[in-house]
C-alpha cells in the first residue's frame, strides 16, 4: 500500500524546479531518431512496408487503449499520449519482414502490448522488452511468414508494386512474386554452412546477398537501414536520451568474438563487419537494448548487460538454430537486468564498493 503522503497534488517537498524533461518528450526524440531509417526502408520496400509499419503502430496503440480501459485507468488519454505504445509498435515494425501479411502486425501488437507489457502492470513494470517478446513469439509460432524476405527495390528486377497491388499483398490476397523473394545475408550464410558449403565459397559465389554498409540489402525494415539507424543512435547519445554504455557494449560484445573467430577460421566464422551490419545489430544496440524499462540503470550493470547481449547474439548466430539471435539475447539479458542492477550498484560517495565507509584519509 502506497503511503498517502506520496501522492496527491499538495506536495511540499523540494525541489521547486524541474529540468523540463517529460516521458512524452523522451519517446518523441527516440521516434525522431527512427524517422530517417524508416523513410529509407519505405523507399526500399515500397507501399507494403508502409502498411506493415502503420498497422503495427495502430495495433499497439489500440491494444494499449483497450487494456487501459479494461483496467479502469483514471487517465487513459494521458497515458496514451506518452507515446510509449507507439514506440513499441515502431520498433516491432522495424523487425518484421517488410512485406508481412496484415495479421502479423495485428497479432504482434497484441503480444507486445497485452502479453509483453500490460499483464505485468503497464508502463515501467514489464520485465521483458515488449517488442522483442512479440518478435520472438511470432518467429517461433510462424517461422515462414517471418522469414520471407524480399529484395529491396533497387536490386529487384520487377517494378515496385503500386498501392492497389500492395494492399492485395498486405491482405494476403496476392502471393509475393518469386522473383522478389530472397534470403537475408545471415540466413544465406547459415543455410549454406548447413549444406556443407563453407563461407569462402558461398559468399564469393555471386548469388550471395551483400551486407552492404549503405543499407541497400535484404532484410527487415530496421536491418536494411543500418547506417541511418547508427546516425539516429548517435543522435540519441548526443542529446543524452541514452548513455553510451549499452550500445558500445553490445557492439563490442558482438564484434570482438566475431573478429577472433573470423581470424581463426574464415571459412566458418563471418567477419565482424558483416555481423555488425547484419540483422538487428545496430537497431538492437541503440534502440532495443537501451529500452529504459528492461535494461539496468547502473553504469556497470549497463556495460555487462550490453556485453551479454552482444556475445549471446554472436553465439546464437554462429551455433544456434536461427540465423539471427538479437531478440533472444535481449530477452535473456532482460531477465538478468534486475540482478545486474542489484549486484553492480554504483559506489556511494564516502563508501567502498561493498558499502562499507571509507577509511579516514591520512594526513594530506
Amino acid at each position: 500500500m502506497m503511503p498517502s503522503s506520496l501522492s496527491g497534488s499538495q506536495l511540499v517537498a523540494s525541489p521547486h524546479a524541474h529540468a523540463g524533461k517529460t516521458v512524452t518528450g523522451t519517446m518523441l526524440r527516440v521516434e525522431l531518431a527512427l524517422v530517417p531509417a524508416t523513410l529509407f526502408s519505405f523507399w526500399l520496400y515500397g507501399w507494403p512496408s508502409f502498411l506493415v509499419w502503420a498497422l503495427t503502430l495502430a495495433s499497439c496503440a489500440g491494444f494499449e487503449a483497450l487494456c487501459l480501459r479494461l483496467k479502469g485507468h483514471p487517465q487513459p488519454a494521458r497515458v496514451l499520449k506518452d507515446h510509449s505504445a507507439l514506440l513499441t509498435g515502431w520498433l516491432l515494425a522495424l523487425t518484421l519482414p517488410p512485406w508481412a501479411p496484415w495479421w502479423v502486425p495485428v497479432l504482434g501488437g497484441f503480444i507486445a502490448i497485452v502479453i509483453g507489457k500490460q499483464v505485468f502492470g503497464g508502463l515501467g513494470q514489464n520485465v521483458f522488452n515488449p517488442a522483442m517478446v512479440a518478435r520472438v513469439a511470432l518467429l517461433v509460432s510462424f517461422p515462414l511468414p517471418l522469414t520471407t524476405w524480399v529484395l529491396p527495390g533497387a536490386q529487384a528486377s520487377l517494378p515496385a508494386p503500386g498501392l492497389a497491388d500492395s494492399l492485395m499483398i498486405f491482405l494476403g490476397a496476392m502471393p509475393i512474386p518469386d522473383a522478389m523473394a530472397s534470403a537475408s545475408p545471415l540466413g544465406f550464410a547459415k543455410t549454406e554452412l548447413s549444406r556443407g558449403v563453407d563461407l569462402l565459397h558461398s559468399l564469393s559465389s555471386g548469388h550471395a546477398p551483400l551486407a552492404a554498409w549503405h543499407g541497400v540489402r535484404v532484410g527487415s525494415l530496421g536491418e536494411s537501414a543500418a547506417p541511418l539507424l547508427l546516425a539516429g543512435g548517435l543522435y540519441l547519445i548526443a542529446v543524452r536520451i541514452i548513455s553510451w554504455h549499452i550500445p558500445l557494449a553490445v557492439l563490442a560484445g558482438l564484434a570482438i568474438p566475431a573478429a577472433i573467430g573470423h581470424a581463426a577460421n574464415p571459412a566458418h566464422y563471418l567477419d565482424a563487419a558483416t555481423h555488425l551490419l547484419s540483422g538487428a545489430a545496430i537497431l538492437g544496440a541503440f534502440f532495443i537494448a537501451t529500452d529504459y524499462v528492461t535494461s539496468p540503470t547502473t553504469p556497470l550493470g549497463k556495460l555487462l548487460f550490453g556485453l551479454g547481449i552482444g556475445f549471446l547474439t554472436w553465439i546464437i548466430r554462429t551455433w544456434g538454430g536461427y540465423p539471427e539471435g538479437m531478440a533472444f539475447a535481449v530477452l535473456f539479458m532482460n531477465a538478468l537486468a534486475p540482478m545486474l542492477d542489484r549486484a553492480f550498484k554504483p559506489r556511494i560517495l564516502g563508501r567502498q564498493r561493498n558499502g562499507k565507509p571509507l577509511d579516514a584519509p591520512k594526513e594530506a
Binding site: P3, S14, D82, H245, I348, L349
Partner: protein, 507 residues
Amino acid sequence: MNLRTLLDKLLGSADWGIHPDDHKRPGADAPVRVMPAPSRLYLPLSQHSGAPARPIVLVGQKVKKGECLAEAQGMVSAPVHAPTSGTVLAVADVTAPHPSGLAMPAIMLEPDGLDEWIELKGCDDPFALSPAEINKKVAAAGVVGMGGGTFPSAVKLTGANRAGIHTVIINGGECEPYLSCDDVLMRTQAAGIVAGVRLIVHASGAKRALIGIEDNKPEAIAAMQAAAAGYDTVRVCPVPARFPMGFDKQMVKTLTGIEVPADGRSFDAGVLVNNVGTALAVWQAVAEGRPLVSRLVTLGGACVNAPGNIDVPLGALAEDVLAFAGGLKGDGLGLARRVIGGPMMGAQVQHWRVPVMKGVSGILALDAKEARLEDASDCIRCGSCVEACPMGLLPSDMAANIRKEALGEAVELGLKDCIACGCCAYVCPSSIPLVQHFTYAKNELAARDRATLRMEATKKLAQAREARLAREAQEKAEAAARRKAERAAAAAKTAAAAEASKQGEPT
C-alpha cells in the same frame, strides 16, 4: 590517480549532479538595498541547530541594537541579539519557515526607530588572540553557519582545532539557482571575507585555506583573488558550476580530492568547511565585536518586481521584506510557490508571515512555469536519477521500495546517505516527487526508532517493576520467616527458661 577514481571516471559516476538554469541575473547585479527595521521583529529562539536559546530579557524591557536577548544553553547552541533598538513586546509564537507551517517561540520586538547600537568592543589585532579567545567572541556574537546549515560556528571551530585539521575549505559555491547573496557578499566585502578566512585558519590551527567559487561568478572570483593576493595561506579556486557543488562533501572532494568517509565528518578527513558569509560574520564578531543581527537575502522568482539582494534585519517577516523591496507583480497574481531558501532545497511556505532567520538565504516567488507543477506519472526506469545523483545512489529503486513500505530495502540501497539535494526529482521525466519519498521514509524510520526506544524503555520499566515486586515478595517472605524463626527461638527460650526454673525448684 588511483583505481577507484579511474573506475568512477570510466563509468561516468564522476559526472555527478545537474546543471540547472541558474536564474541568478539580473538579481546578482542589482545594488544591495539595506532594509530598515519594520514595525515588528520576530526573533525565533531556534535559529541554529542545537538547543534553543533561553530568553534573558523581560517583557517591556528597552533594548539596544546588538544587545543579547536570549543566551545559548547547552553544548550546541547560539545566542540571539536585538537587530535594532526597541522594546521587547512578548515571547510569542511565529510560523516557522518550514513546510509544516508549525509555530515556533520567538521574541517579539517593537523597534523604536532610533537603531541605536550598544557599545561594541572590537579588537585591534584579532590575530594576536588565542584560538580559545576567538571562539569565545564568535560564540558570544551568535555566529552560525550562514550557508543554511546554521551550526554554531564556535562549536565547529573548537571541534576542528581539537581534531587537528590541515585545510579550511571556504564555500563560495552558491550552487542553488536564483540565490546570489554569497556572490554579492564576495563582490562587495572581499577584504572582510578574506580577513575572516585567515582568522578561521588561525583559530582552527589549519595550514591553509581554499576558497571554492563556481565559475559562473567571474566578478566574485576576481574580487576575491584581488583580496587574497599577498596571503599565501589563502587560495581562491574557481570550480565548475554544477549543483550540488556547495555541499561540503562535494566541495571538499573537488578542491582537495579527499573523500569524506560516509559515517564521518569533514574533521575526520582533516578539513573544516565554512561558508563565505560565515567567514565575514566571524571577522565582524572578532574585529568589531559586532553580533550577527542582519544578513543578505536574495529576493527572486518571476513574480517579484525587483529581484536583488537585500540586507535584512533578522526577525523581519518575508512579507515586510517583499513590501520594502518592491512587492509582487500584479499583487501576487500567478504566484505558484512561495519558497524560503533556494529552489532545489528550500522550504515551501503557505504564506509570507514567516521570519528571516540566520540561515535564510532567499525569498522566492515562483510562477507555475518555474515551479513546474506536474502530476507524477509512472517510472519508466530511464536512469536519469541514477546519473544525476551526486552520492551514487539508486533513487528510482529506493522510491519503488518506499512506495511499497519496504523501508529496510531502501536503507540497504543507501537511503541514509541521501542528502535530499533534489537532483533526482529535478531530472525525473515522470515528475516523481522523489525527495518527498525519501523525506517520508527518513521521518518514518526516525519515528520507528523512537517507537522502538520507547518500547524498550517501557519493557525495561516493566521488567524492573516485576523484579522489584519479586524482590519485595521475597524480602517479605524472608522477613516473615525470620520473624517466625525469632518467635520460635524466643518461645523456645522461654520454654527452656521455664523448664530450667522448674528444674531449679527443690522438690
